[in-house]
């Protein structure tokens, strides 16, 4: 019988611990598929961050390092600099990457560190039970913005992809979403490409993946997907913000 669907080699058989309706599982699978499609599982070192996805190392079936909160791009830099022919990626949430680790990600991009960053943005701190993130939308109610995020107190949510895309060192920057099957397939392509950029030694590549947190958003899973489409996508527009320069040219 022909196999039409199976677990990627790059995923372990451990069941995901993620909450019902959380899209981390989908995104893990997309990363694993990209690793399989590039056939790099034995040549890849991943870096897990702090947050719900700290346990990414339980699921992604390659060599992994778990890093301190926000420091994954620095840890990945250390690995890549001493093992330049290995594929190195980080998997980070928005609290990790856009808040406590904003320095590390900006400088990894500025150096055009030849790594792949998977940035999962669900506009909230999930693991610590729903605090406001730097990416939380205006008006969004969280444990630490109970009346809704307001400009006067909390300022504006950060568009990381747009910000990093201003850096010449950022070779590939894309924002994708997971709110329906069509967008999941687009996300798959972007993640594949972000590894491809590294494979071709074209420099820093990041895919921002819009994601859900139904439990901390206080929504049903379906409602959460709709919320991504109706509220996150308008503030965080999808698409490729930067693609690598042509061979022999520097990034603009």
């Amino acid at each position: 019988m022909k196999t039409v669907f199976q677990r990627p080699r790059a995923l372990t058989d451990k069941p995901f611990h993620y909450c019902p309706g959380c899209t981390h599982g989908i995104i893990h699978r997309l990363v694993a598929e990209a690793i399989d499609d590039h056939d790099i599982i034995e040549n890849t070192v991943g870096v897990a961050s702090v947050g719900c996805s700290v346990f990414a190392y339980e699921y992604l079936n390659c060599d992994m390092q778990q890093s301190a909160h926000g420091r994954a791009p620095a840890v990945a830099t250390g690995i890549k600099r001493v093992l330049p022919d290995r594929m190195v990626f980080t998997y980070q949430g928005d609290g990790d990457l856009a808040s406590i680790g904003i320095g590390e990600i900006i400088h990894a991009a500025a150096r055009s560190e030849n790594i792949t960053v998977i940035f999962v943005n669900n506009a909230i701190y999930g693991m610590t039970s729903g605090q406001m993130a730097p990416t939380s939308l205006l008006g969004q109610k969280t444990a630490t913005s109970p009346l809704g995020r307001c400009v006067e107190t909390n300022g504006y949510p950060i568009r990381m992809s747009e910000m990093l895309a201003t850096l010449p060192g950022a070779s590939y920057i894309a924002r994708v979403s997971t709110h329906d099957a069509k967008h999941v397939l687009q996300a798959k392509k972007a993640i594949f490409k972000a590894f491809d950029v590294q494979k071709k030694q074209q420099g820093f590549a990041m895919v921002e993946v819009l994601s859900t947190c139904p439990v901390n958003w206080g929504m049903e899973p379906n409602e959460a997907l709709t919320w991504v489409k109706d509220n996150m996508v308008p503030y965080y527009p999808l698409g490729e913000l930067r693609t690598p320069a042509k061979e022999g040219e520097l990034n603009a």
């Binding site: 034995e42 040549n43 070192v45 390659c62 992994m64 390092q65 301190a68 420091r71 620095a74 250390g78």
Partner: protein, 354 residues
């Protein structure tokens, strides 16, 4: 091999390169700037990686990544920078990764000043970062020792899979002395746990997280047991004229140099003064202090701090003999006469029977 005139900071860097250091990640801070500058110039000549990080925090996490990937790696900084690295040091110790961290100590607290001090003893020896962990801490007393201890630091780090700190001070880092590099590179060490890509083996994981108390407690006890074995195996000290002494000075680093001159001045006056110079402060060398206590010899601890190593000396002698203390702070260093005056004061008081 001929001796070379070098700054202490350069001697550490050259010693590290010769030992086989292959990666350096650091951030500018005085008074250790010669180390990254030397590494930037010379490490690439030896197929090594030099990278100036965007912060102390990033630098220590780059060390974590590179150490986890199996590289012989180091960083250096000075006191305020070491505070920033403390989080990373806790992770590195927890993940049991070998690396070398240099602290060319300046005075604090806060931004303090750029002059020499020993106020980071507690931070280096008792923790600094969170959780139960230990650094192995080496305290050089000369430029030659800075070169030698750079090599030894990598040896110990790889022997115990533990971060090792070389704790110098602003004078040792900046002063020049003749130095000889007699030893070759350390032999390569097998690191089967390193994340180098899982070719023909199960995947490797470098991790410090364990949310199950039952298993994490086992990890804590295993670390504790390792630190105990390190304590038994790796104590180092230099004892000078302690056999017949009526008073023994205890000092490390640059202060021990001054104390040695004071000791000679005292001996010239017929006063039997000895010196214990710890070369490791974790593990703390208890035996020479126990020996002094068992012979009822009082101690004078001299430090560039408000009184930090003196606590370990008091623990070592456990109340059996008086432990006196003399200090300067804020970047000030006692001269030999100042220490001699204290020796005279103490010995006059007690007439050798303090």
């Amino acid at each position: 091999m001929a001796k070379i005139l070098m700054k202490g900071n350069e001697a550490i860097a050259e010693g590290a390169i010769r030992a086989g250091c292959k990666a350096f990640f650091g951030y500018p801070i005085t008074p250790q700037n010669e180390i990254p500058a030397y590494m930037a110039q010379h490490l690439p000549e030896h197929e090594g990686v030099f990278l100036q990080a965007e912060s102390e925090v990033a630098a220590i996490n780059m060390v974590y990544g590179a150490a986890g990937a199996g590289a012989r790696v180091m960083t250096s900084s000075s006191s305020p920078g070491i505070s920033l690295k403390a989080e990373g040091m806790s992770y590195i110790a927890g993940a049991e990764l070998p690396c070398v961290i240099v602290n060319i100590v300046r005075c604090g607290p806060g931004l303090g000043g750029i002059h020499p001090a020993q106020g980071d003893y507690f931070q280096a020896v008792k923790g600094g970062g969170h959780g139960d962990y230990r650094l192995i801490v080496l305290t050089p007393g000369s430029v030659q020792e800075m070169a030698d201890m750079a090599r030894e630091a990598f040896y110990l780090a790889e022997k115990w899979n533990n971060p090792v700190m070389i704790m110098g001070d602003g004078i040792l880092g900046q002063m020049m002395e003749p130095v000889e590099f007699a030893n070759g590179p350390l032999p390569p060490v097998d690191k089967p746990w390193a994340t180098t890509g899982a070719v023909g083996r199960p995947r490797n994981l470098i991790n410090t997280l364990d949310i199950m108390p039952e298993s994490f407690e086992k990890k804590n006890f295993a670390l504790t047991e390792k630190y105990q074995r390190i304590s038994e195996a790796e104590m180092q000290w230099e004892a000078t004229n302690t056999e017949d002494a009526d008073l023994v000075i205890a000092a490390y680093g640059i202060v021990a140099r001054v104390a040695k001159t004071a000791l000679q001045m005292a001996r010239d006056r017929g006063l039997k003064v000895g010196l214990i110079r710890p070369k490791t402060v974790f593990p703390f060398p208890n035996p020479p202090f126990e020996s002094a206590a068992s012979r009822n010899i009082p101690l004078l601890v001299v430090e560039l701090s408000a009184g930090q190593m003196v606590e370990d000396v008091r623990l070592a002698v456990n109340g059996r003999v008086p432990v006196h203390f003399q200090n300067r702070m804020g970047g000030m260093v006692p001269g030999p006469q100042e220490i001699l005056d204290r020796i005279l004061e103490l010995m006059d008081q007690g007439g050798g029977q303090l």
